[in-house]
């Protein structure tokens, strides 16, 4: 008779959370120190401390200051916010749509955002917004695609219909994006469009971080607080109703919060595939499906995973860098398949 490995005691679970938190802190330091130019940890510490309380003193190498304070640190925070946001919304979409194949982009958000971003990059729309033009357009595009999907399901509440209309809207908008790229004249624009489409954290900067972090931490808190509802919904609509959960309205409000998170993230970093699919499933292998544990662990694991992938992106082809989306799928997929095969040997499910 096999036993589950899911049931950690309260203390064990707390220790695991602390361990992951420590690992995240270590990851943050690594993300700032490691790169094409390695920076000694003491300098990193000095720069962070002094920049935080005003401007850094003269005796520090100003190139280091630029790299640490203006490039790597905001980028590391962006990676943490993006990784945790995507992992948590992935877990939540899977529960709410009752489908293990669901990912954060399943309801058309990324393809809508792509149309917005491509319009800005290739045709200079929203010029008046300057540096925020791209993210604003992408956010609006993503959110409108999501609401289009909702509108198509206004009077019907079947999950499968919702997913399939998400797929339909996604593919229609992707071909619109392709059409726009095909029509475009200048090659340089196409290059940056491709970079955006494949996902990257290179655009991270201090000015947009507070909003991103605010939205993501609100979203994660909301999901942790809705853990009971997510549990009930993942058993299916009817069971949720018999457990006293207003299945349809809860599903929509959770989806809207999820979309808000993904919308903000897509606007900043483009489409980063696979994180929202692989991280929740990896965490499920070890912690089971109880969302009270799943969501916080996903948030930590997602941010650690994405930050390390981003570090790898900067190192693999230095001094250039690889789009993040390529590496997440490239290293994510084999790891995922390896673990799926190991599932039986770690004693979680034997049939």
């Amino acid at each position: 008779m096999e036993k589950s490995t899911f049931r950690f005691s309260r203390i064990q679970f707390r220790l695991i959370l602390w361990g992951l938190g420590f690992l995240l802190f270590f990851t943050l330091i690594a993300a700032v120190a490691i790169g094409p130019v390695s920076i000694p940890l003491i300098a990193v510490w000095q720069i962070v401390r002094e920049s935080f309380f005003g401007s850094p003193s003269e005796n520090i190498n100003s190139a280091y200051v630029n790299i640490v304070w203006y490039l790597r640190l905001p980028r590391a925070f962006q990676a943490i916010a993006t990784g945790s946001g995507l992992a948590v919304t992935g877990a939540m979409m899977q529960a709410v749509l009752n489908n293990p194949m669901a990912d954060p982009y399943i309801l058309g958000i990324s393809s809508g955002a792509s149309v917005g971003a491509v319009l800005v990059i290739l045709f200079n729309l929203f010029n008046s917004l300057q540096t925020y033009a791209l993210s604003t357009a992408a956010f609006i595009g993503g959110i409108s695609a999501f609401f289009l999907v909702l509108l198509l399901n206004k009077n019907r509440y079947e999950i499968l219909r919702l997913i399939l209309s998400g797929v339909a809207v996604s593919s229609a908008l992707s071909s619109l994006t392709s059409l726009l790229i095909f029509q475009a004249r200048h090659g340089e624009g196409i290059q940056s469009v491709l970079f955006w489409l494949m996902g990257s954290l290179a655009r991270a900067e201090w000015s947009t971080l507070p909003l991103t972090i605010l939205v993501v931490s609100f979203g994660i808190t909301f999901m942790i607080m809705s853990a009971r509802i997510l549990n009930a919904l993942s058993l299916g609509e009817e069971t949720a109703i018999t457990l006293g959960v207003k299945a349809i309205s809860c599903r929509y409000s959770i989806m809207i919060v999820g979309t808000l998170i993904v919308g903000v993230l897509v606007a900043q970093c483009g489409t980063i595939g696979f994180v929202g699919l692989i991280v929740p499933h990896l965490v499920r292998l070890f912690f089971g499906n109880n969302h009270r544990k799943l969501i916080p662990v996903c948030a930590l694991a997602g941010s650690i995973f994405l930050t390390w992938v981003d570090i790898a992106c900067r190192l693999v082809v230095k001094p250039a860098e690889l789009p993040l989306g390529i590496l997440t799928s490239l290293c994510g997929a084999p790891l995922f398949i390896f673990l799926l095969d190991r599932k039986s040997t770690i004693g979680i499910r034997k049939k």
Binding site: A95, M225, G236, T242, G288
Partner: protein, 262 residues
């Protein structure tokens, strides 16, 4: 306990239920019988609020059902639905713990009292040894027991079961119906096996094409003429040798043919 008056239900232009009225006596075990597609499941869905009837009234403990919110009914009504497939793995303990959902705000933690209630429900159903197992790895009969334990953890006073013995071997069919029968709460189950229904239920409600065609105690409901009308099957009524409850013997076409030759 629960009272239904003139219930009508339509789905996608098809009339599913016509003018159904009935009343459940507290503490009794009532069975809902009838052919496939007769409206048994739809009727239960109206009671556990997965479907909304177009007309008619349902009163739960004297109050009209729409005046109660889902949480209020979930604290008193446990449901074992027919399809409980989930792609997500939960341990038996966690699944039974979800029976505590309606007793909490979404953000509240589970208390020690909740854990005690879950242990007690597992004990009552006799599956304490399964509590660390993963639900999807259990046999069909064990799964049903877990779902009944979850309903008990809800502290339900009314238990609704939609064909709880479907696809189960005879051991689990008896195990589950005896367990349900022994619970000191009101029970309503849709059942396929007329003989099982006759053995365990105090009352039977016979549904056909969405109409309630007969109701009462088993010996009044299970008449060969009615069985033939509804199922198109010839039956002979006998009695169970041990408890004298009605027991139906069905005639095979082959037997009738053999009889005619002789």
């Amino acid at each position: 306990m629960i009272k239904v008056k003139n219930l009508f239900l339509e789905r996608g232009g098809n009339k599913i239920l016509h003018d159904i009225s009935f009343q459940l006596k507290p503490g009794s075990f009532a069975g809902l019988v009838g052919p496939n597609g007769s409206g048994k499941s739809s009727f239960l869905k109206c009671l556990y609020r997965a479907l909304y009837p177009q007309a008619g009234f349902i009163y739960f403990e004297g109050k009209p059902l729409p005046s109660l919110n889902l949480k209020q009914t979930a604290r008193k009504m446990g449901v074992v639905i027919q399809e409980h497939n989930t792609d997500f793995d939960f341990t038996v303990f966690d699944l039974v713990l979800m029976g505590r959902t309606p007793h909490h705000q979404p953000w509240e933690r589970d208390s020690d009292e909740d854990y005690q209630i879950v242990e007690k429900s597992l004990n009552q159903v006799g599956i304490s040894s399964l509590k660390n197992r993963i639900f999807s790895t259990l046999s069909g009969g064990e799964k049903q027991l877990v779902l009944i334990a979850r309903a008990l953890a809800q502290q339900a006073v009314l238990l609704i079961l939609d064909e709880p013995t479907n696809h189960l071997d005879i051991y689990y069919q008896l195990e589950i119906l005896q367990l349900v029968n022994s619970l000191p709460i009101t029970k309503l189950a849709a059942l396929h096996d007329l003989n099982m229904a006759a053995q365990f239920c105090e009352y039977l409600y016979f549904v056909n094409h969405g109409y309630l065609v007969a109701s009462g105690c088993p010996q009044d409901v299970l008449k060969p003429a009615l069985i033939y009308d509804v199922f198109g099957v010839k039956a002979i009524i006998g009695y169970h040798p041990a408890n004298q409850k009605p027991y139906l013997f069905f005639q095979m076409e082959k037997d009738i043919y053999d009889l005619n030759i002789k």
